[in-house]
């Protein structure tokens, strides 16, 4: 069987694309570069929207990127079940594109924050979290200025009731409602989170943890089982 092909999207201003591609390769999958201006998903099995400052995060994080030609392809594909994960700026883009509910706003501290963050995995029945154990506590780095998750009371209630909160902060770093660090859509194929699994996959570099690997092994598992 040929290796699973995970697309890694680059927008102007994307920063963590190489890191994401490296993590994809580390678990034995193929990383396929996807360019924002192409109407082409290159037949990938899953898509990773990495972090960064696409379009400088000007206007609002993710606001301009979500109109990229590639997104015209990605949005219907995700709705049809293609596994998609967005981290940090990628999460912001998924919210702006209404693939995920809610929005990410300025940290309550008003400061950008880069630190190693304790988190709890809340839902493991998604394409991207099935390698974890429910309730597992992990450490991933966060690095963002606009990571405070907000949504209307109704949306929040729906997320909680539907088990769509996949990751929660232990010690809320940004004022996110319900300590939300990551969510999924109802189907579980689209996942967004503020922390950076791709910076926690090797002992030598990045955060002092390799807990990020779970996200990448999860997608492999779900692709094999699909």
């Amino acid at each position: 069987m040929s290796a699973a092909r995970v697309g890694v999207v680059t927008f102007p201003g994307t920063l963590d694309d190489q890191d994401a591609a490296r993590a994809v390769r580390l678990v034995g999958a193929e990383a396929v570069p996807l360019w924002h201006a192409d109407h082409d998903l290159k037949g990938v099995d899953a898509v990773f929207l990495p972090g960064g400052f696409s379009y400088g995060d000007y206007l609002r994080c993710g606001a301009i990127s979500r109109f990229a030609p590639l997104m015209d392809e990605l949005i219907p594909a995700a709705k049809a079940g293609l596994p998609v994960i967005g981290t940090c700026n990628g999460f912001q883009i998924l919210c702006e594109a209404h693939l995920l509910p809610g929005a990410l706003t300025r940290n309550a501290s008003l400061h950008y924050v880069c630190r190693d963050q304790r988190l709890r995995v809340e839902r493991v029945s998604t394409s991207w979290t099935n390698s974890f154990a429910e309730g597992q506590e992990i450490t991933l780095p966060i690095k963002h200025g606009e990571g405070r998750y907000v949504a209307s009371a109704d949306t929040l209630a729906e997320l909680e009731a539907g088990g769509q909160v996949i990751l929660r902060y232990l010690g809320n770093p940004n004022g996110s409602l319900n300590d939300i660090a990551g969510i999924s859509n109802a189907a579980g194929n689209v996942v967004g989170l503020m922390p950076h699994p791709e910076h926690a996959v090797e002992d030598l570099v990045g955060a002092p943890s390799t807990d990020g690997l779970g996200f990448f092994t999860s997608i492999l598992k779900s692709l094999v089982n699909a």
Binding site: P12, G52, F53, Y58, H111, Y112, K143
Partner: protein, 749 residues
């Protein structure tokens, strides 16, 4: 009316506002002599910026020469001083380029934008060498931490560095934050960038090949930082009053990020013959320097420069300091490919001229010639001053006022807590948490490590694998340099050298940013002369060449200069990054070993500063042979896997180093002192470091030290939850942490 060359020739006596542009009468006379006529307004614009202190180094040149004449022989040096940044060979076909630069004055006027554009500028310097920028560092000095203006300046500076550097995707891997009342009206904001390239891919600022095209790309040109030029454009030649010209430049980090990716793709496609970033002096600098180093001639149509503000006059275009611009020399056949890559990255690019072999830089405006000069006269043949200098009047009194008269503490526990809770020695997490240290996933060490370290194997996609890494540290101590600028500069180098060595990397090359007061003040000039002499001598002794740097003069409030503050950056190489030595006490049950001798040295110390507000006497002795031996031991021990952790000793001495080592991972230690506890704990003797080794490795390590004549003292063992100094005091690590962490958040929110 436009001041053309023809008009200038016809009106030789027309008064020109050279003085308003900061030019002296004799400098102006030299311009006339070079041109054989009076300069046009545009020519005057070019000469005035190119011959400014900032661009021409006219007061510092005679002293900086020593960095080259005394330079140790180093095969690692691929490109030395004088280019945009130095380049060193780091092995396996790789080269690193790095440089530190100041943005002090702009950061006082508008902290956020001043600091942000400081990062932007140094990153473009690195890009222009053909490298991919891979990390930044920032070395910061502010007034007293509790001064109201520090509350304005510091958060803005940190936010500016954070927003700009983070947006570029460059990890911030280290720096300094120092407070001293002398910097209140004149903070120091020094930014360092390091880049990586293949040895055979070095690009230079040169414009060879007549017929080659000159391309301006990146942001459009606006009225940024051209207060001076407005004098020319409005007072002299324009009757109608000009629109307001801001002194503040605003950065666009997104454009810079696009420029980085765009440049790297241009280099990979091999469509760049020469390249230069646009920094201070903008188009003036780029055109004269490119032309001077190339075939010697260039023709530029200034009307083709894309403008953000169409009302700009040619003099203003020449002097504009708009950010995020680059200039490239491109073969005509490569222009389509060049333009296509720029378009892919949404980077505007415009051909504005071409290379000639006339030996003249000729510029036109509305079809008329407004500049016709030999470019080398502006770029390389600026005035050179041997400024008079003499020892400051109060220097010997300052040196005579030694810390001997200060009352020694009886409660050493409280003294340690007081130092750890002082702004200079407190945790800098409030600052570093705002910087992305992980992006690109090559960061092996960052805060709180003594040096930042990056692996290089994967820094450039698709490159040959290598186990190598680079380490970088910056240091500087204005108090030491005030007491003795010669020794102070050496101590700055020694500390940065040591900080690199404690991580296991071998120090290789030096960059420096020399922050001083006015060169027209003979006492300041003496400090400068002493500091450069000290640094050059120390570089020779330690065998590490200066590859580049930056001089920042006029750092003063009124007539009062800041402490002379040479900031030194050292780059080192480690053959196998997996053997890097982490900071501090990483586990229990390890032997704590002190390397180097402790003398009673309190002049300029943190203890004298914090407890007694005292500055006097002499700084610690700079023993460079000891420093070198210590470095050799640390590097060799790391290579052999003998070190589990390490930390250098500097401000606050052994006490603070022990405390910081405990804080690294929350592991305590129990140690025993042999001499006067106060001296042992708080003296700031140089050439010392703390390491932890496995008990079974101790003998091998001790004999290694013996072979290098490095004194080695077993102090005790790691473990527990407290720092215990036998028979002196004991303090829980948690209490240390609370003191250490609370300071900056309490001050800055």
């Amino acid at each position: 009316m436009t001041d053309t060359v023809e008009r200038a020739s016809g009106t030789p006596d027309e008064p020109m506002p050279f003085a308003e542009l900061g030019m002296k009468q004799d400098e102006y006379d030299r311009v006339k002599q070079i041109l054989g006529r009076r300069p046009t307004g545009s020519e005057l614009a070019i000469y005035s910026v190119m011959w400014s202190e900032h661009c021409s180094y006219k007061s510092s040149k005679v002293h900086l020469k020593q960095f080259a004449t005394k330079a140790p022989k180093s095969e690692a040096l691929l490109v030395g001083m004088g280019e945009n940044a130095g380049v060193v060979d780091i092995g396996d076909g790789w080269a690193a380029t790095f440089k530190i630069e100041s943005h002090n004055h702009p950061s006082y006027v508008e902290p956020h934008q001043g600091a942000a554009t400081g990062v932007g500028g140094i990153v473009r310097d690195i890009m222009s060498m053909g490298a991919r920028p891979i990390a930044v560092m920032d070395s910061l000095r502010f007034g007293a931490a509790d001064a109201p203006d520090t509350r304005r300046v510091l958060p803005g500076v940190v936010e500016g560095i954070s927003s700009y550097g983070n947006c570029l995707g460059l990890p911030n891997i280290g720096g300094e934050v120092v407070f001293d009342p002398c910097y209140l009206g004149n903070p120091l904001v020094n930014a360092l960038c390091v880049g990586l390239l293949r040895k055979d891919q070095i690009k230079l600022a040169t414009a060879p090949g007549p017929g080659n095209k000159v391309v301006l790309f990146g942001a459009s040109t606006g009225p940024d930082g051209i207060g001076g030029a407005s004098v020319l454009a409005s007072a002299t030649f324009e009757d109608e009053s000009q629109a307001k010209r801001p002194a503040v430049q605003v950065g666009d980090p997104f454009m810079e990020k696009l420029l980085i990716e765009c440049c790297l793709e241009l280099y990979a496609a091999d469509v760049v013959v020469g390249i230069q970033d646009l920094g201070a002096a903008g188009v003036s600098c780029a055109t004269t320097e490119l032309a001077a180093k190339g075939t010697g001639g260039m023709r530029v149509d200034l009307n083709l420069v894309p403008l953000r503000d169409p009302s700009l006059r040619p003099e203003e275009i020449l002097m504009s300091e708009s950010q995020e611009r680059m200039m490239a020399v491109v073969r005509p056949d490569d222009i389509p490919a060049f333009m296509e890559i720029c378009a892919k990255w949404d980077v505007p690019a415009t051909v504005i001229g071409e290379v000639t072999d006339t030996g003249r830089l000729v510029m036109t405006w509305d079809g008329e010639i407004i500049v016709d000069i030999p470019p080398g006269t502006a770029a390389d043949e600026g005035p050179v001053y041997e400024r008079p200098y003499h020892e400051p009047a109060g220097q010997s009194a300052l040196n005579a006022d030694t810390p001997d008269r200060l009352e020694r503490p009886t409660d050493l526990r409280e003294t340690l807590l007081r130092l750890l809770g002082s702004p200079n020695l407190s945790s800098k997490e409030w600052v570093t948490d705002q910087y992305d240290r992980y992006v690109r996933s090559n960061t092996v060490l960052a805060q709180p490590a003594d040096a930042g370290m990056l692996r290089i194997s994967e820094a450039i996609a698709g490159a040959e694998p290598t186990t190598r890494g680079i380490a970088l540290a910056t240091d500087g101590n204005g108090r030491y340099a005030k007491l003795d600028p010669y020794a102070g500069a050496q101590l700055a180098l020694a500390e940065a050298y040591r900080n690199v060595a404690v991580t296991g990397a071998e120090p290789l090359a030096v960059t420096n940013c020399l922050n001083f007061g006015s060169p027209e003040d003979p006492e300041v000039m003496w400090q400068f002369a002493e500091a450069t002499r000290g640094l050059a001598d120390a570089c020779r002794t330690l065998g590490v060449p200066v590859t580049g740097g930056n001089v920042s003069f006029y750092n003063q409030t009124g007539a009062t200069a800041v402490n002379p503050t040479p900031v030194v950056g050292v780059l080192g190489v480690i053959e196998d990054v997996a053997k890097r030595v982490p900071t501090g006490f990483v586990a229990e049950g390890l032997r704590v070993v002190l390397l180097g001798d402790t003398r009673e040295e309190f002049g300029g110390s943190e203890w004298a500063h914090v407890v007694h507000r005292h500055l006097g006497g002499l700084p610690p002795q700079a023993d460079l042979e000891a420093e070198q031996a210590l470095g050799a031991v640390l590097v060799e021990a790391a290579r052999r896997g003998l070190l589990e952790g390490s930390h250098d000793l500097s401000d606050g001495g052994l006490a603070v180093a022990l405390a910081e080592s405990c804080l690294a991972r929350g592991v305590g230690a129990k140690v025993t002192l042999s001499g006067d506890p106060f001296v042992d704990l708080f003296s700031e003797s140089a050439a010392r470091a703390l390491v932890v080794v496995r008990p079974e490795a101790y003998d091998e390590f001790a004999s290694l030290c013996g072979r290098h004549d490095v004194p080695c003292y077993g102090l005790g063992v790691t473990g527990g939850t407290s720092l215990v100094i036998e028979d002196v005091f004991e303090v829980p690590v948690e209490e240390l942490r609370e003191r250490h962490r609370a300071v900056l958040p309490a001050l800055f929110g």
